[in-house]
Amino acid sequence: MLILSQLIPTPLCVFRIVTSWEVKSIGHPVVLPLKVCEELLQVMDESNSTLPASMRCMRSYEVSVQNMSSYPELQRRPLLT
């Protein structure tokens, strides 16, 4: 049986994960301007808030579902190899 505290990320757990990623240099760097980082977080939080409550968190992480529907601008974007 799952205990409720396992589903809700606590600040300490989150801090431990952040520190662990930093210490082990996990994570390919994706550099964006500060304003864009904030916008991106907002987009993810909005996506998270539309999920059913039981699906919003996974261990200490929050869950986001990013729409990738066909988008004209995407097909023509300057990306990349």
């Binding site: 600040p11 550099v31 964006l32 864009v36 991106l40 869950v63 990738m68 529907s69 990306l79 190899t81």
Partner: protein
Amino acid sequence: MDTLRAKETYSFHCQGCTTRLLEDRVFKRVLPLPNGNWNAIVDDWCCHPDPFANKKLLPRAEDCLLGDTFVLLARDSNCNQTLTEEVTSAGAADSQDTKKPCHRLALISCASCSLVLGEAVAQGTLKLYITQVVVRPAVGDGKLDASLNRSAFLERTVAARLLDLSNSLSSFHFSVQTPDGKVFLLLWVLNGDSIIAAVPEKSVGEESSISPLASLSPSLRATRALKLLYISCSNARASIQQRE
């Protein structure tokens, strides 16, 4: 997937206001840049001193260099009318962290709507982020149809980029950082082939009354989605500091 190609003509538009920023750019060379942190492993490959130490990879006049989240281009004379430049101190706000040097960033913004587009990384070189500009082949009048929904553009652009990177690197952990190297967000790509269907709440409530034809309407179509886990570093630090 379309990519920028050499010897084709492109125009660059501001994502915020669709103003054309760079007109009729033709590149002789379009080259990918090495991935982030490439400098750190040069020592493993060279038996002599690092030949790239303290050297930036910069484009020549008709080059376009492609990074993970940006393009590097040479500045031309038209840029002075469409772009503005402002020098800021990126590390100044974080006065507690005295170990890190204060980075000076020359921010490049759209002259029409002031959206930050990128940085001037060296004299005559523009770094434009893919989330801030729209690139179109320069055909017809070259105008964009309409102003694009910002959050939808950002969501789809970043999601597609994360999926590309995770496919090419076989790495599913990403740390979203600001240009001064401060980690802002940790991302873990779980699933690139999820399918989501957005159904209006009203339709769910009246499930029994939906006709088979109504279920085929565009608003009920399933779309591809990227499922990811994330942690905001700024929120985590703030929570810990509050507790202390």
